[in-house]
Amino acid sequence: MISEMQTGIQIGIYLVMALSVFAALAAVNLPNIFHAALAFIGTLLGIAGIFISLRADFLALAHILIYVGAVMTLVIFAIMLTQRLSDPNVRQHNNLSAPAFLGGLAFLTLMAKLIYTTPWPVKAAGTVPHVSVMDLGQALMTTYVFPFEVISVVLISALLGAIVIAKKDPL
């Protein structure tokens, strides 16, 4: 009974992975950039599902909130503000498709070979404790407090810089 449930969960995870890869392929190949952005939202949701399968529940929620809620909204705004929407004849891909595909395939084979030949020190199932939000917050405030402060400075300067760059009249 338990093993049946496990097989079901495994099949579900592989299904989510396949759907994310399919959506990612659509996101780089669709001729309409707006449809590509929508396909990429599908990829992001699939990645959030993968995070849940790794029991990183807070990270999955933050991922959906930040990416689908904020970043992709911004991207869609930018698409609507810049695209020559009335003109579907603009080519969206350059002439590099074949070499890029072959190079990507070679890179992927190399990576797969490396991944399968490396002896990962995987711990036995059940020995890794579940990471709660409290653990994350404590690590963020003790061990990683310096990167945390640096990230906040980076974020505030990026926001100010974006306002200055996108302003109508330059300073």
């Binding site: 990270l59 969206q92 890029a100 020190p121």
Partner: protein
């Protein structure tokens, strides 16, 4: 880990490669930005998979995934502001029509 670590790593590598492909072939700057976000997400999958299976302190991978998400948001904001400023001046978002710094 309900499925082996290698499968998560392969999934991350596939997403990474698709992102690289998108950066190389897209003419639209916004398409290139979407591909960059895809690459950062592939790295996040790897970080979380390692934190779940091999890491000595399991929260490290998730903390760094959160840092990567914050940096990706900052990169997207600055990149899209640049795209808007560029479109206002040059009336295009296609990379091969922006040749200001080329001979």
């Amino acid at each position: 880990m309900i499925i082996p670590l290698e499968h998560y790593l392969i999934f991350g590598a596939v997403l990474f490669t698709i992102g690289i492909y998108g950066i190389l072939v897209r003419r639209n700057i916004i398409g290139i930005l979407i591909s960059i976000e895809m690459i950062l997400n592939a790295v996040n999958v790897n970080l979380v998979a390692f934190s779940r299976s091999t890491s000595a302190s399991p929260e490290t991978g998730q903390i760094f995934a959160i840092f990567v998400i914050a940096l990706a948001a900052a990169a997207a904001v600055v990149g899209l502001a640049l795209v808007l400023a560029l479109f206002r001046v040059r009336k295009t978002v296609l990379t091969d029509e922006i040749t200001l710094l080329k001979w």
